[in-house]
C-alpha cells in the first residue's frame, strides 16, 4: 500500500508545479469534501467552516517551513480529523456541565433542511442516513470517506494507519451493520 501512495506522490512531484499551485489545486479539489466531513463531525456549519480554514492555514504553514506534502488528500483529511478531535477536547472543558455536548461520537447533519432534497423526499433514504448515524464512529468515518468522499482504500488505510485489508474488512462490516440497523427499523 505504501508503494501505491509513494508512486502517486512521485508522480505528483514529476508534475513540477510550485507548492503554491499544488496547494491551491488541493484546495479546489478538496475543500468541498473537507467541509462536508467537518460538518458531519461537528454538526455546525460555522464551526465546520472554521475548522476547514484552519486546516488549510496550518497546512500552508507546514509547507512554508520547507516540509513537503506527499499526498494532499490524505494529509488534509488527517489534519482535519485531528482538528476535529482537538475541537471536541477543548469543547469538553467549556461545556463540562452540559450533557452530551462534548460527545465526540455525536452525529447530526446540521439540520434536516441541510440534507439534499433527494434524501429529504425519500423516507427510505432518511432511514438509511439515520442508521448511518448509529454506527460506531470509526466505521462511520470509514464509510463516509469511502462512499461520500470517494477516497480509495489505500488512502483510507494511510489516513487511519490501518492495513488496506483491514480497511476492506471495516467497510464490509460497517455496511453489514448499517444493513442490520436499517432492517430492524
Amino acid at each position: 500500500m505504501g508503494s501505491v501512495l509513494a508512486k502517486r506522490a512521485s508522480m505528483e512531484k514529476a508534475d513540477n508545479k510550485s507548492q503554491a499551485e499544488k496547494f491551491l489545486r488541493a484546495y479546489d479539489q478538496l475543500v468541498e469534501g473537507l467541509f462536508r466531513f467537518a460538518a458531519f463531525r461537528v454538526s455546525n456549519k460555522e464551526t465546520a467552516e472554521d475548522l476547514v480554514s484552519q486546516v488549510f492555514l496550518r497546512t500552508w504553514e507546514y509547507v512554508q517551513k520547507g516540509n513537503e506534502v506527499q499526498h494532499w488528500k490524505v494529509f488534509l483529511y488527517r489534519t482535519l480529523s485531528n482538528l476535529v478531535v482537538d475541537h471536541y477536547r477543548s469543547k469538553k472543558y467549556e461545556t463540562k456541565s452540559l450533557d452530551g455536548l462534548g460527545d465526540e461520537n455525536k452525529f447530526e447533519i446540521v439540520d434536516e433542511a441541510q440534507l439534499p432534497s433527494v434524501i429529504q423526499q425519500n423516507s427510505e433514504a432518511r432511514l438509511i442516513v439515520a442508521s448511518f448515524a448509529k454506527l460506531p464512529s470509526e466505521q462511520r468515518d470509514i464509510l463516509w470517506w469511502r462512499y461520500v468522499e470517494d477516497l480509495d482504500v489505500f488512502e483510507i488505510a494511510s489516513l487511519t494507519g490501518k492495513k488496506p485489508a483491514s480497511v476492506y474488512v471495516s467497510i464490509h462490516r460497517a455496511l453489514k451493520k448499517a444493513r442490520a440497523i436499517n432492517s430492524k427499523k
Partner: protein, 695 residues
C-alpha cells in the same frame, strides 16, 4: 439481497455529497489562501478555477477526441459516447449474473473496471494524438458544452468507479473466508488498476496548461466535426478578443486504423469461437457425468436440496440427472438436481449459435480481403457476439464447473471385526470408504450358504447373524455394492461361537484399589480386576454411599474420576465390577478426604492476658482459633519499638518479655499469622511492671 441493500446504502451516502459549503465562503477562503500563498491569479485561467476543473477540462478534451474517432459503432467495442454503449453495459450485467462463486465475481468486477479504464485510456491516447498535431493545437481548441459525448465520458468514469467499488466490496466479503493466495492476487490486481487510474488522471492534467494557452487569445472557439467512414473533417472557428475571426479545416484519414482494428477483431472472434467450441465439445461428450455448478445465489427452491460433505462428491452418481452443487461455506455443499434434457436443449442452442458465429466470421474475412475494413470489423464483432451468446447458453445449461467422471471403482472394505460372539449369534462389522450396502455370506465351510444383508447405503456396516450353533467355527465374507453397482468382496474370515455349557459363575477379583489426584472437588479411584469387567464406584459422605459413577466398558484396569465433591470432606467409597456374565465383585469400604479450600481467613485472636508480671519481665498469653505464629510488639508508648516472636504454629500462644523497666507502663500489640500468612493484629493493650520499692 445484501448486495442490493449495500447498493442502496452507498447510493444514499453518495447523495450526501449534496451537502456543500456556501460558494461565497469557498471563494472568500480561496482569496485568503491565494494571498497567503502569494499566488497571482491570471484572469484567463478563471474558467479552470472551479471545483473538479481537472475532470471538467479532461472531459472536454476527451469528448473532443471522441468526436474524431466515433466511426466504429459496434456494441462490443463501443466507447461510452456510442449509442450502443448501454447495450454493452447490459450485456456485461447479464454475464455477471451468470458467473458464479464469490471469487470469480470479484475477478469479474475487476475485469469490468479494467475494461472501463481501458476505454478511458484509449480516449486519453487519442487526445495525445490530437496534441501531436501541431496544426490543430496551434489554431485553437474547443470547449464543448456538456453534450451527449460529455455524458458518455462521465458514464465511463462512473461505471469504472462502480465496478471498482463493487470489486472492492466483494473482496471485503471474501477476505474472512477466502483463499489467501487468491485474495492477495486479486488485491494486487486492484492495486494495479488503481495505479493506472492515477496515471491516467495525471496524463489528463499534463495537457491543461496547453489548453489554457490555446484559449488565451481566443474569446470564442467552436468546432465542427464531420465523421465519414474513412476520414474525419473538422473545422475550427475562433474569434479573437479583437473581433477578428479565423477558420481552419483539417482532415484526418482513418483508413489504416480501421484495417488494424478489423484484423484484431477477426482474430479475437476466431479465438473466442474456438474456445467456445471446445467447451461445448467437453460437455456434450461427458453425458454420463454429473455436472456441478457452484452457485451462490439465494434461490429459495429448497425442495430438491440435500447436504453432502464435499469429499463425497466424486463418488456420487446422479445418472440420469445432472446435479447442480451449491457451495455453502467450507464444510458443506448443497446439491440440486435438474433434468438432463433441459441441459441438452441449451447445448443444442449453443451449437446453433456457434454455426452462426462461424458464418459471420467468414463474412468478415471476405470483407477484409476486399478492403472493406469497417464491414469486416462489424462482422467480426457480430461473430464474437454470437460466440459469447453460445457460451452463455452453455453456461446456463451446465454452469461453470467440474466434470466428474462416472464412478467405476469398487468400495474399499476395511476393519472387518466380529463382535458379541455368543452361543447362537454374532455381529459382523466393517467399514467402506464410500456409501455402499451390506451383505455377509456365512456358513460352516467356505461354500457359505447363508446370507444376511441390508440394502441401506452406509459407511459403517453392521450385520448380526443369528441361529448359529454353539461351539462351532463359522466361515464368512463381507460384500458391499456402491450406488453405481461396483462390488467389493472381502477374503474369507472365521469365528467360533461360544460353548453352550461354559458359563462363567466366578466373580472378578478386585485388587489394588488406589485413590489418586485428590483435589478440592474431585478424586480418582483406580483398581484392577483379574478378568474384563465393568467399573462402578459407589461413594458418599457416609458408608451408605448414595452416589455413584459408572463406566460400562469391560476392562481389567479401571479408573473413575469422581467430580463435584465438597472440599475438606471425608468420603466413603467402594469399587464395584461386573464381568460379562453378570458376576459382581465389590471392594471393601475406603475413605479419602478432599483437600481444603485455600485458607483466606485470618486467625481469630482471643483471650489476651498478661501473666507473671515482675519488675523486669512479663508473659503475654493468647489463643487463636487455628494454628498460627506468635508476635508481640511492645514498648513504653503505643508506637512500640520492641518485639518478641516465635514462628511455631500453635493455638495457645505464650511469649515472655524480659529486660523491662520496673514500674513502667508498657503498651503491646499481638499479631498471629496462619500457615497461609493470613494475619490478625490485636488492638493496643497495656500492663505495668511491678515496682521494686513496693516489695
Amino acid at each position: 439481497m445484501d448486495f442490493l441493500k449495500n447498493l442502496k446504502i452507498k447510493k444514499v451516502l453518495r447523495l450526501l455529497r449534496g451537502i456543500k459549503p456556501s460558494p461565497q465562503w469557498v471563494l472568500m477562503t480561496r482569496g485568503r489562501l491565494e494571498k497567503l500563498a502569494g499566488f497571482e491569479v491570471k484572469p484567463k485561467r478563471e474558467i479552470f478555477i472551479v471545483r473538479n476543473f481537472v475532470l471538467k477540462a479532461g472531459v472536454a478534451f476527451v469528448a473532443f477526441a471522441i468526436a474524431l474517432v466515433g466511426t466504429f459503432a459496434s456494441a462490443k467495442e463501443s466507447l461510452p459516447t456510442d449509442t450502443l454503449y448501454p447495450l454493452k453495459l447490459w450485456g456485461e450485467r447479464v454475464q455477471k449474473t451468470l458467473i458464479l462463486g464469490e471469487q470469480s465475481k470479484v475477478e469479474f468486477a475487476l475485469s469490468l473496471a479494467e475494461r472501463r479504464l481501458n476505454e478511458a485510456e484509449e480516449l486519453a491516447a487519442l487526445k495525445d494524438e490530437i496534441f501531436a498535431n501541431e496544426e490543430i493545437k496551434g489554431k485553437a481548441l474547443a470547449v464543448i458544452a456538456p453534450s451527449d459525448s460529455d455524458r458518455g465520458v462521465l458514464l465511463a468514469v462512473e461505471n469504472f468507479e462502480k465496478h471498482l467499488g463493487d470489486a472492492e466490496e466483494r473482496l471485503a466479503k471474501i477476505v474472512d473466508r477466502g483463499n489467501i493466495n487468491q485474495i492477495s492476487k486479486i488485491a494486487k490486481k486492484l492495486e494495479q488498476i488503481q495505479e493506472r487510474q492515477q496515471r491516467l488522471q495525471e496524463k489528463l492534467i499534463v495537457h491543461l496548461p496547453e489548453l489554457a494557452q490555446a484559449l488565451e487569445g481566443a474569446q470564442v472557439a467552436s468546432i465542427e466535426v464531420q465523421r465519414n467512414i474513412d476520414r474525419v473533417i473538422f473545422t475550427i472557428n475562433t474569434t479573437a478578443s479583437s473581433g477578428a475571426t479565423s477558420s481552419t479545416t483539417t482532415t484526418i484519414s482513418l483508413q489504416n486504423k480501421n484495417a488494424d482494428k478489423a484484423a484484431k477483431a477477426i482474430e479475437r472472434a476466431e479465438h473466442k469461437i474456438s474456445i467456445v467450441e471446445d467447451k461445448l465439445e467437453r460437455f456434450i461428450n461427458s453425458t454420463s457425468s454429473a455436472f456441478f455448478r457452484f452457485n451462490d445465489d439465494d434461490d429459495e427452491d429448497d425442495d430438491k436440496k440435500s447436504f453432502v460433505p464435499p469429499g463425497l462428491l466424486k463418488k456420487l452418481n446422479f445418472e440420469p440427472n445432472i446435479a447442480f452443487a451449491k457451495s455453502k461455506g467450507k464444510d458443506k455443499i448443497e446439491i440440486k438436481f435438474i433434468e438432463k434434457d433441459d441441459v441438452f436443449e441449451k447445448l443444442e442452442g449453443a451449437k446453433e449459435k456457434i454455426l452462426e458465429a462461424k458464418e459471420k466470421l467468414n463474412e468478415a474475412k471476405s470483407a477484409f480481403a476486399e478492403g472493406d475494413y469497417v464491414e469486416a470489423y462489424e462482422k467480426a464483432i457480430e461473430a464474437f457476439k454470437k460466440a459469447v451468446e453460445a457460451e452463455g447458453k452453455i453456461n446456463k445449461g451446465v454452469g461453470f464447473g467440474v466434470i466428474i467422471s462416472p464412478d467405476t471403482s469398487a468400495p474399499l472394505i476395511t476393519s472387518i471385526s466380529v463382535q458379541s460372539v455368543g452361543t447362537s449369534s454374532a455381529v459382523i462389522k466393517w467399514s467402506t470408504n464410500e456409501l455402499s450396502d451390506s451383505r455377509v455370506m456365512y456358513g460352516t465351510s467356505t461354500s457359505y450358504g447363508l446370507v444376511s444383508e441390508n440394502g441401506a447405503f452406509v459407511f459403517t456396516h453392521s450385520l448380526s447373524l443369528s441361529g448359529l450353533q454353539p461351539s462351532t467355527t463359522y466361515h464368512y465374507r463381507v460384500i458391499s455394492n456402491d450406488k453405481s453397482g461396483n462390488t467389493a468382496t472381502s477374503s474369507d474370515h472365521t469365528f467360533t461361537t461360544t460353548s453352550a455349557a461354559t458359563s462363567d459363575t466366578t466373580a472378578p477379583v478386585i485388587s489394588s484399589v488406589v485413590v489418586s489426584a485428590v483435589g478440592t472437588s474431585s478424586a480418582t479411584i483406580s483398581w484392577f480386576t483379574n478378568e474384563p469387567a465393568t467399573s462402578r464406584v459407589n461413594y458418599g459422605t457416609t458408608s451408605l454411599y448414595g452416589l455413584f459413577a459408572v463406566k460400562d466398558i469391560l476392562a481389567t484396569s479401571h479408573s473413575i474420576t469422581l467430580n463435584g465433591l465438597q472440599a475438606s470432606t471425608s468420603y466413603h467409597f467402594q469399587a464395584r465390577s461386573v464381568d460379562g456374565s453378570g458376576n459382581i465383585a465389590i471392594s471393601s469400604d475406603g475413605v479419602f478426604i478432599t483437600s481444603g479450600l485455600p485458607d483466606t481467613t485470618a486467625p481469630v485472636i482471643s483471650g489476651i492476658s498478661v501473666s507473671a508480671v515482675s519488675t523486669s519481665s512479663a508473659t503475654i498469653n493468647w489463643t487463636t482459633n487455628e494454628p498460627a505464629d506468635s508476635w508481640v510488639e511492645f514498648g513504653t508508648s503505643s508506637s512500640y519499638g520492641l518485639g518478641s516472636s516465635t514462628s511455631a504454629l500453635v493455638t495457645n500462644h505464650s511469649i515472655g518479655l524480659s529486660g523491662l523497666f520496673e514500674n513502667t507502663m508498657y503498651h503491646f500489640r499481638i499479631s498471629s499469622a496462619d500457615a497461609s500468612s493470613n494475619t490478625s493484629v490485636s488492638s493496643d493493650n497495656s500492663f505495668t511492671t511491678a515496682s521494686s520499692s513496693a516489695e
